[in-house]
């Protein structure tokens, strides 16, 4: 099955502005960076003991997923990988974001928005290896 992914400039732009708004709410409201890998890691492995706001942020994310399952299930896609592949990917994402100090939200959105050279380097790097990996999977016959 080969269904081409549709280019959706308007809904992607709209969703992106909401993401920007969300990060701005957290910054202006409580002075925090909406870097989700950092929020999750610090919630789970506690660096400064401020667990409540992190738990509530993550809960907010999860609840939208619950809502989507009920009201907009089409917005939830699946990964083409097997459960084993998803597990390997998860370990890589977890380890990589912890070492690299951020992910698409932390470096890509928040870091680039404040013109951080570190975040630019990080973003270009993960985009590059992401691209190489996606291409390699396709060449090796993986389902996309």
């Amino acid at each position: 099955m080969d269904t081409t992914s549709q280019f959706t400039p308007w809904s992607s732009l709209a969703g992106g502005t909401l993401i920007g708004l969300a990060a701005s709410v957290l910054l202006i409201g409580s002075g925090r960076i909406a870097g989700i890998s950092g929020i999750a890691a610090d919630f789970a492995f506690g660096r400064d003991g401020h667990r409540l706001w992190r738990a509530l942020f993550l809960l907010g994310l999860a609840v939208t997923g619950l809502g989507a399952a009920r009201f907009a299930p089409g917005a939830l896609g699946t990964s083409p990988r097997s459960l084993a592949g998803v597990a390997v990917a998860g370990v890589l994402v977890g380890m990589g974001t912890r070492l690299g100090g951020g992910c698409t939200s932390g470096h890509g959105v928040c870091g680039l928005s404040r013109l951080s050279a570190r975040s630019l380097a990080a973003t270009l790097t993960f985009m590059a290896t992401g691209a190489a990996t996606a291409a390699a999977v396709r060449w090796l016959g993986g389902v996309s």
Partner: protein
């Protein structure tokens, strides 16, 4: 209302808006993410528009906070690291591989987890494992 409660509510709001943004933007569709990353294949540029929308909005927030304290926070908790070091690059590279493999990064995975997805559950558990490992590696690097 205590500071902690205020910050908790801000975080809950931010997480909810963030999740809604991810769902509307298409980022909770791993195949769509992979189609963006795999630019040498049947490219779907949508993720670029997500980032554009987010950064344009969030860039403004950094202007807004100049000379102001957070509304309900004590101070800004902004990253202070400046050096583009090996750990940043290697970590980001590893993250990108995992992202390109499954099409999930932390935010969308948590939204999907909230929807009850078994794939997302596996990913999140693996994510935590990877983060734990990454934390150990990172601590060792700091010590030496």
């Amino acid at each position: 209302m205590t500071r902690r409660t205020q910050q908790g509510l801000v975080a809950l709001l931010s997480g909810s808006i963030f999740g809604a943004g991810l769902l509307i933007s298409g980022m909770t569709e791993p195949r769509k993410v992979i189609a963006f990353l795999d630019f040498s294949g049947a490219w779907d540029p949508s993720l670029a528009f997500v980032m554009l929308g987010a950064i344009v909005v969030h860039f403004g927030a950094y202007r807004v906070i100049q000379g102001r304290a957070p509304l309900w926070g004590d101070a800004y908790a902004l990253p202070t690291a400046r050096r583009i070091d090996g750990q940043l690059v290697i970590g980001s590279a590893i993250f990108g591989v995992g992202w390109g493999l499954a099409g999930y990064c932390p935010g969308p995975a948590i939204v999907a987890f909230g929807s009850g997805s078994i794939q997302a559950l596996i990913f999140v558990l693996a994510l935590l494992l990877g983060m734990f490992g990454g934390g150990k590696l990172s601590a060792r690097a700091v010590r030496s």
